[in-house]
């Protein structure tokens, strides 16, 4: 196929928008896995949970999905802190987090998914909001609001988190916990409390990511599985705990997928994206911006 510039620019824009959404989905993993070393593979299941809550509120009360997700943030925060408490007592305290912790989240992923199936069935659910069906057009490119709105929300969320992590005391403590727990406790900050807060925040982001997901595509309980690979890929590519690195990685993955789909055929998009990850891992395990 020839290489029209317009098509290329459109593919690039689509990739960036998609990448923005991927970043929102990944940020929770960046905190839990990248900073805290907690391999929360159940994260996508919590995102789907967020989607379903947005769906119910939209269906019953006509609430905007993003508004709903902000309203339920505290709920997810407490859910996260509860899960961390269990995780800490059962695994971290005993020094068994690596293998057992992984299995624990694997089980959690299953349980959440199956509970959603039992409650909602496996039909695809979707939300309605004014902006979902509108598209902005400029000259030769077009911006579907369905992708633009999640992109903007995602950027706001990420900017907010980045500010929190680098400027506030708690945020800095969270970053420090990843490096040296002992030093942190010498500074009179309880590392467990800090980790609990950080993990709770990571789960809270799932509420927002869930709302964005259901704006972009219809959702059924096992859709989350599609994201497990992607989010970890992005997190690792970005160099673990670094949020700017993660955003770059998410955009890259989005752009790679989008360009491959446009020019080479969509069926190769996953192989190209994950092949990219494999090569990065093999050549530069620390990721693009290693911490």
């Amino acid at each position: 196929m020839e290489f029209p510039v317009e098509l290329f620019i459109n593919a690039l824009i689509a990739g960036i928008l998609l990448g923005g959404f991927y970043a929102a989905v990944t940020v929770g993993i960046s905190i839990s896995f990248g900073i805290l070393d907690i391999v929360n593979i159940a994260h996508p299941a919590f995102i789907i949970l967020g989607s379903y809550i947005a769906y119910i509120a939209n269906q019953r009360l006509g609430l905007d999905p993003i508004l709903t997700s902000i309203l339920v943030l505290p709920l997810f925060y407490y859910l996260g802190s509860l899960i961390y408490q269990v995780y800490y007592l059962s695994f971290e305290k005993r020094g068994q987090e690596a293998l057992r912790g992984l299995a624990f989240f694997f089980g959690l992923l299953f349980v959440t998914e199956v509970l959603l199936i039992l409650v909602f069935g496996v039909d695809y659910r979707y939300v309605q909001a004014g902006y979902i069906d509108t598209t902005l057009r400029f000259a030769f490119f077009d911006l579907p609001m369905r992708m633009v709105v999640p992109f903007i929300i995602s950027m706001v969320l990420l900017a907010g988190l980045q500010w929190f992590l680098s400027k506030t005391f708690t945020g800095r403590a969270i970053m420090a916990v990843a490096q040296d727990q002992l030093a942190l406790s010498l500074m009179a900050a309880d590392p467990i409390r800090i980790k609990r807060i950080a993990f709770a925040i990571s789960i809270a982001t799932a509420a927002i990511a869930g709302a964005l997901l259901i704006i972009i595509q219809p959702v059924e309980p096992s859709v989350g599985r599609e994201y497990i690979g992607r989010v970890f890929a992005i997190c690792v590519l970005g160099g673990m705990g670094s949020i700017p690195g993660m955003i770059i990685a998410a955009m890259l993955l989005g752009i790679v997928e989008s360009i491959t789909s446009t020019f080479y055929g969509p069926s190769w998009a996953p192989a190209v994206a994950f092949g990219f990850l494999l090569i990065t891992l093999a050549v530069r395990p620390a990721g693009l911006l290693g911490r």
Partner: protein, 416 residues
């Protein structure tokens, strides 16, 4: 204390659990005619599976209300195959060997029917098959019968209906884009579409498949747009059909005809979700509310189905799958009554030799177990406003373009 007590508690629980299971399996009377099947009640195909099971149970209730078959009540024995093909061989063995069912019906869909075939063939059972495409092409089993109205050359029915519409256009389009999901149904349909398009002398300007789990379909829609086809044939699954149609609208794809082969628009939820995006799109259907399709009994069935479906949270319209499943069971029942026995060979013979009146019309099977004639409808949707489900009960929303026997209007171009 803790771990040990917990272990014991667990073990007693497990034992009680196992005991309960074994007794549950053996306490069945030999009297009723047992019909066995596995159905996707969880997993990806569960939406259709639940609707199909409801139709099967409605049939069993109807038959039992009239006194059963051969004077015996009918009992449905079913398991959940979780939409997972690897559960199917053992489930059908259990149905036939342990539950001693008298008749088997297939699971829903090609992926799950195929693994049941070797078992069913080995046991010599006659099988009514539910919505499988081209399964018997591989097995060539003379006791296989399939209810979806695809006709002898089953993979070609849907693309063929689409291209018949293209052929009838004046002037006839010269370029076509073909795209579909990278999975069994999408692949069979796009392969057939490619073949037909070549034979018609159409120029294929875009021909690529996509993974069903794609998130953003805009790149595909744009690539198609830049190839500038006159008609676009799409063969996807529900979720990606929604994504692709949405992207096509967002990108502002200009083509005369769009759609044709997607599994998706048949279902009420997808119809509602697409809403006005469906206007002027083409889709295949097995049944639409139309004067020409008013077969005896179908209105009554749909009304009863819809009452029950609302309560169970499954497809509220039920045009696509349920009437045909009910018809499949009607055929099984009629064949048993005609044969006056449950002998599998005799049953297969009866089913091959007779025509069966059902709520979806008279059905006759060809040698390979498919309908003798395909009856897939190619429909153009129109006049859809908003995302309500109820508007799709209105016959005016559908123009049947093909086959000629059910044609209800002329094609409208362009799509946008």
């Amino acid at each position: 204390m803790s771990t040990l007590t917990v272990l014991f508690r667990q073990m007693t629980f497990a034992l009680a659990f196992l005991a309960a299971m074994f007794t549950a399996g053996s306490a069945m009377a030999a009297d009723p005619i047992k019909i066995g099947l596995s159905m996707a009640l969880t997993g990806g195909l569960a939406g259709n599976g639940k609707a199909a099971l409801l139709a099967i149970q409605m049939w069993a209730d109807d038959v039992n209300a009239k006194g059963g078959l051969l004077g015996r009540k009918v009992q449905i024995v079913h398991y959940d195959d979780q939409s997972n093909p690897s559960t199917v061989p053992s489930l059908y063995t259990k149905l036939i060997d342990l539950d001693k069912v008298d008749l088997v019906v297939s699971p829903y869909g090609t992926n799950l029917i195929a693994p049941a075939m070797p078992v069913v063939m080995q046991k010599g059972m006659t099988m009514m098959s539910l919505f499988g495409v081209g399964v018997n092409k591989q097995f060539d089993y003379d006791r296989y019968f399939q209810i979806m109205p695809l006709g002898v050359d089953s993979g070609y029915a849907i693309p063929n209906a689409f291209f018949e519409v293209v052929k009838a256009m004046n002037p006839m389009p010269k370029t076509v884009a073909i795209t579909g999901a990278d999975a069994e149904f999408g692949k069979i349909s796009t392969d057939a579409a490619r073949d037909i398009a070549k034979k018609m002398g159409l120029k294929i300007v875009y021909d690529r498949s996509y993974p069903p789990a794609s998130v953003d379909f805009a790149p595909i829609a744009r690539a198609i747009q830049s190839a500038n086809p006159e008609v676009v044939f799409i063969a996807g699954y529900p979720i990606d059909s929604v994504g692709l149609f949405r992207a096509i609208n967002e990108v502002g794809l200009k083509a005369k005809l769009v759609g044709g082969g997607s599994a998706g628009p048949q279902f009420a939820a997808v119809k509602a979700q697409l809403g006005p995006m469906l206007n002027n799109a083409l889709g295949y259907e097995t049944y639409v509310p139309s004067e020409k399709m008013n077969f005896p009994g179908i209105q009554d069935f749909l009304k009863r189905y819809q009452d029950k479906a609302a309560a169970q949270g499954i497809d509220p319209l039920g045009f696509y799958v349920p009437p045909f499943i009910y018809a499949a069971m009607e055929i099984v029942g009629q064949a048993v009554e005609k044969t006056k026995s449950l002998d599998q060979k005799a049953l297969a013979k009866t089913m091959h030799e007779n025509s069966f009146p059902t709520i979806v019309g008279d059905i006759r099977f060809a040698k390979n177990g498919e309908w003798t004639q395909p009856r897939m409808l190619m429909v153009q949707y129109k006049g859809i406003e908003g995302n309500g489900v109820d508007q799709f009960r209105d016959p005016a929303r559908y123009t049947v373009l093909y086959p000629p026997a059910f044609k209800s209007g002329d094609v409208i171009v362009p799509y946008r």
